[in-house]
């Protein structure tokens, strides 16, 4: 039996990622990249909508995708902290996309063949999109990691900055058909291979910082502002 929290976690990872990527539209290093990041954001948003809709149905309290996206506070978001980290540099966007899609791809692949029919259908679609995301992040990591001294240094700094949050990808099996911890082996092999080819160093393990999730608070304040100011507003 799949729990609400399990589905929320998958959906919130995708939703928060979509919101972060959306902020890069028209801010990428080249026009094609603006289009690419917007497309990836759209894929993540699409998956988030399906997952939150399903979570709302499992919960059975009458909350739809909009209620779950716009009317929950930061304490109720189940996403891992990796996805909410700020992206002050394009290197962080790419590093985060690599770390996330190297998780999402095997996760969706496993879910597509697992027992929950609804998750299996959603994952069956999302995995094809994740494969594109991983490919895209890999190409940029190679290009920047194995690029100039400046790009190499910034790519390495981006992975170093995000590394304390990678454990969160595999934490907390809230009760679903695939335990995230079991995906760690596949994830490690993908990430280590790409970083190695990009002449980057895999950072040493670091404990996740504790404390207030101020980045998530700020992200949600922006994302939910319109809905909170005009409840129920429609196009």
């Amino acid at each position: 039996m799949t729990t609400v929290d399990y589905v929320l976690r998958l959906g919130d990872d995708a939703l928060v990622t979509a919101q972060r990527l959306g902020a890069w539209y028209a801010a990428g290093p080249e026009m094609e990249e603006d289009v690419a990041l917007a497309n990836i954001a759209l894929d993540q948003l699409g998956a988030a909508r399906l997952l939150l809709t399903y979570a709302g149905e499992l919960e059975g309290a009458g909350r739809d995708e909009d209620a779950l996206a716009y009317q929950r506070g930061p304490a109720d978001f189940r996403n891992c902290r990796l996805v909410e980290q700020p992206e002050p540099d394009f290197g962080v966007v790419i590093a985060k996309l690599l770390l996330l899609s190297a998780f999402q791809l095997p996760c969706y692949e496993a879910l597509a063949g697992a027992g929950d029919e609804r998750l299996s259908a959603i994952a069956g679609k999302a995995r094809k999109e994740s494969a594109y995301h991983l490919d895209h992040a890999t190409l940029w990591t190679l290009r920047l990691g194995d690029g100039t001294d400046e790009s190499h240094q910034r790519m390495q700094a981006s992975f170093d900055t995000l590394w304390p949050f990678v454990d969160g990808l595999f934490a907390g099996d809230d009760g679903g058909p695939v335990d995230p911890a079991e995906l760690r082996k596949a994830w490690t092999s993908t990430v280590e291979d790409v970083l190695g080819r990009a002449t980057l160093t895999v950072p040493a393990p670091v404990a996740e910082p504790t404390g207030e999730r101020t980045h998530l608070v700020e992200l949600l304040a922006e994302m939910q502002q319109l809905h909170r100011a005009h409840p129920g507003a429609r196009w």
């Binding site: 289009v35 990836i40 894929d43 948003l45 699409g46 399906l50 069956g124 594109y132």
Partner: protein, 154 residues
């Protein structure tokens, strides 16, 4: 009263306006029960495809125009849509409109060239794996210089 299937099959894709939803493989089924209630089953191309709401509305309008006021549109996700479902006729229309049709998603023994939609040359290069909509990538012809969209094999 036009047959429901015929009415729905003629709905064009709002982002690829040269092909119908039937030719794209988005339309799964049109069922009419004994009381004349029509159930249309569709499947999205990409999970976040923003055209789905327009497609649902266009199906409703086409059915009403054909005299089928009593209808519903269902969305299913499994089995997942693939570009392999685009009909041969749909592929021809895409190419004629400047969108290179997708290759097969199954493994092939060699990589297939994407032909320029302007001059037909196979000497083309991919500029970006992402394009103007979720289902397309951006290409350029080395022979004639024309940039064009190509539908991703998916």
């Amino acid at each position: 009263m036009t047959a429901a299937r015929e009415a729905v099959a003629g709905v064009v894709d709002p982002e690829l306006r040269v092909v119908t939803i039937d030719e794209l493989g988005i339309l799964r089924a049109v069922d009419t029960d004994d009381r004349g209630h029509v159930t249309v089953t569709i499947t999205p191309t990409y999970t976040g495809c923003p055209a789905m709401d327009v497609i649902r509305a266009d199906i409703g309008a086409a059915l009403r125009a054909a005299g089928h006021a009593d209808h519903e549109v269902r969305t299913v996700f499994a089995p997942a849509w693939s570009t392999d479902w685009i009909s041969p006729g749909g592929r021809e229309k895409l190419a004629a409109a400047g969108v290179a049709p997708p290759g097969p998603t199954r493994p092939v023994a060699l990589s297939l060239a994407v032909r320029c939609t302007n001059c037909g040359s196979p000497d083309t290069e991919q500029l970006s794996r992402f394009g103007s909509t979720a289902c397309k990538a951006l290409w350029r012809c080395r022979a004639c210089g024309e940039p064009f969209d190509a539908m991703k094999a998916y």
